[in-house]
């Protein structure tokens, strides 16, 4: 297993570098000049061309693109992922600052989605063609179809404004000088739930389908014939088998999770990578965009690897 993981990671290295190169080129192809993108229309009206040229040369934008690429790769190899155009700091610092909140939000949302999705899917399979089954299919389909920005605003409207149960955004209460852990969880729940809702649908669908196949299997009858209680049969024997194909689904959904973060973090003022992405694209902050694309690629690669490892952990027939 360890050698497999090592091998997979080694194979990923050229892939990731390829992604780096391609994303660098694509980002360069974005229309619009990073210097002007930072200026308001009013400033643009009065900024002298010298100022703009000066800024461009400070950022190295006046050099040929391959020189820029070489300089940037040099920065990447030093581990700081380049320098931000907008803020005068290494990109690595900016990402490091934001990755924690994003990880907390993403992991919580993923966990919520998994727990709810797997439970709903399992019970839908057990009660195939019942009202519960139909209801869970329809609601999970709806959950996938509702755009998450709408869902986010609805959630804010209902839970924050009308009911006043949750705060509308941010990571902590500002007035409290020393916010408690509880306060942070309180701020986390709503964005995590909204993010989770978009993920639940596929989990329900795949768990249900997988579970339907599994509970028809002979070993389920065997377990019942041994006298094992039904729920123990389902969760002890069925679920683990049903989860094996789900690992792949989770890995495939990682990009959906990442785009969801982009929207949800913006709506809920969550200071994570998603918001940074949004701001960086609007500001044509090339180094940050490329770095985020790169980090996302790393995430996708890692999650796929994790999916394989998890599948192997769940299924002894798979050897890594």
């Amino acid at each position: 297993m360890l050698s497999y993981v090592g091998r997979r990671l080694l194979i990923s290295v050229p892939v990731l570098f390829g992604i780096l190169g391609i994303s660098f080129i694509f980002v360069q192809m974005l229309p619009g000049d990073p210097v002007r993108a930072l200026m308001s229309p009013e400033e643009l009206a009065t900024a002298s061309p010298e100022y703009i040229e000066q800024r461009r040369s400070e950022l190295g934008l006046d050099k040929p693109i391959f020189v820029q690429f070489a300089a940037w790769i040099g920065e990447v190899l030093q581990g700081n992922l380049g320098h931000s155009f907008r803020r005068n700091t290494p990109v690595a610092d900016m990402i490091f600052e934001r990755i924690g909140p994003t990880a907390i939000l993403a992991i919580t949302a993923l966990s919520i989605a998994l727990i709810i999705g797997v439970l709903l899917g399992t019970f839908a399979a057990l009660k195939q063609n019942s009202w519960f089954d139909y209801l869970s299919s329809v609601t999970s389909m709806m959950a996938v179809s509702i755009p998450n920005f709408f869902l986010g605003l609805m959630a804010i409207y209902i839970f924050s404004i009308s009911l006043g149960i949750f705060p509308t955004g941010g990571m902590r209460t500002l007035a409290a000088s020393n916010p408690s852990a509880l306060d942070r969880v309180h701020h986390l729940i709503l964005p995590a739930l909204v993010l989770a809702i978009n993920l639940i649908g596929p989990y329900v669908r795949y768990t249900r389908q997988s579970m339907l196949e599994v509970i028809r299997q002979d070993y389920i009858t065997t377990a019942r014939a041994k006298g094992v209680p039904w729920m123990k049969v389902v969760f002890g024997h069925g679920l683990r088998n049903a989860l094996i194909p789900l690992t792949t689904v989770i890995a495939i959904q990682v990009p959906i999770l990442l785009t969801g973060l982009l929207v949800i973090e913006t709506i809920f003022s969550w200071p994570g990578l998603g918001r940074l992405t949004f701001e960086s694209i609007m500001g044509r902050d090339y180094p940050v965009i490329v770095a985020i694309v790169f980090i996302s690629a790393v995430f996708v690669v890692l999650f796929n690897l994790l999916a394989d490892v998890t599948a192997a952990a769940l299924d002894p027939r798979i050897r890594l």
Partner: protein
Amino acid sequence: MNEMAEAREKRGAEREPLLSVRDLSVSLRSDEGLVQAVRNIGWDIYDGEVLAIVGESGSGKSVSVNTLLGLMRQDVAIVNSGHAEFGGRDLLNLGERELREVRGKDISVIFQDPMASFNPVKTIGDQISEAIRVHDERATRRWAWSRSITLLSMVGVPNPELRCKQYPHQYSGGMRQRAMIAMAMANRPRLLIADEPTTALDMTIQAQIIDVLRLVQKETGGAIVLITHDLGLVAELADRVLVMYAGKIVESAGVVELFASPRHPYTRALLESLPRIGDQSDELRSISGQMPSLVELPEGCAFHPRCSLSHDRQLCRELEPPLQETNSGSERLSACHFSRELDELDIFDR
């Protein structure tokens, strides 16, 4: 209808049957409609006895047994009528919880396909241990594990300590079936149901498994219901045989009498289809025609369209024959209007 009641009374109740099935009818939902899988059958099994239930696939032999343990899918199988008395209780009237206590403890099942019947993601040791612990709250994990090792060694699995830690896919087919038998006997059940226990195995392995089953019976002293379409296995193991056709028992006899002189044209056809030593033909004989659809059964005797004896007689077409004694006072039962004609037609060169 209770065809066997009379016969049983005649035989005399010198001992109580271990399991007594009466008037069992089961329908299955299918896309074509309701399938009359089991129609008003009844049978008894006694301690220490090996009862074989024989029939083609679809004859209802597995359904009739799985129904007793509530192992049929509830959305598919409907028990229309029946009683199954076991240890003073009617299995068909037990709640899920009570039935669960019977399953795997008093009555165990050995399934046909040992590959599919083991959970692929759990070790064999875990699965045998589970069978033990689910019926014995006091059994510790460690104790159940060591008992699993003992059971595996009893059924002839070499190196059982290691084998316990292995997964089903690491076992060969024969070893898996041994492990399945070990799991079934974990709680020394009084009744073992072996559902096509050798079908998925090749010939040499079959013989070994038959030996293991014999051993198990000797060990537990319990009874075995052997569900099979393999008459060779029946001859090897069974004491008594029920022949099922289209959801009904068509013949019941001791194993020797049955092979010597079948009293139902279907049984005879089954025996004829057996390959015989000295037979020059490579052709496998089979019974001509197909089993009728159990959704729309023919009028009269269900076997009459395929029957070599019926000669399209009106009685066969119109009246379904009851299961009755072939000779008065005999323990042999047959459901054929013209079972006596089979005496005259002794086609066996034995």
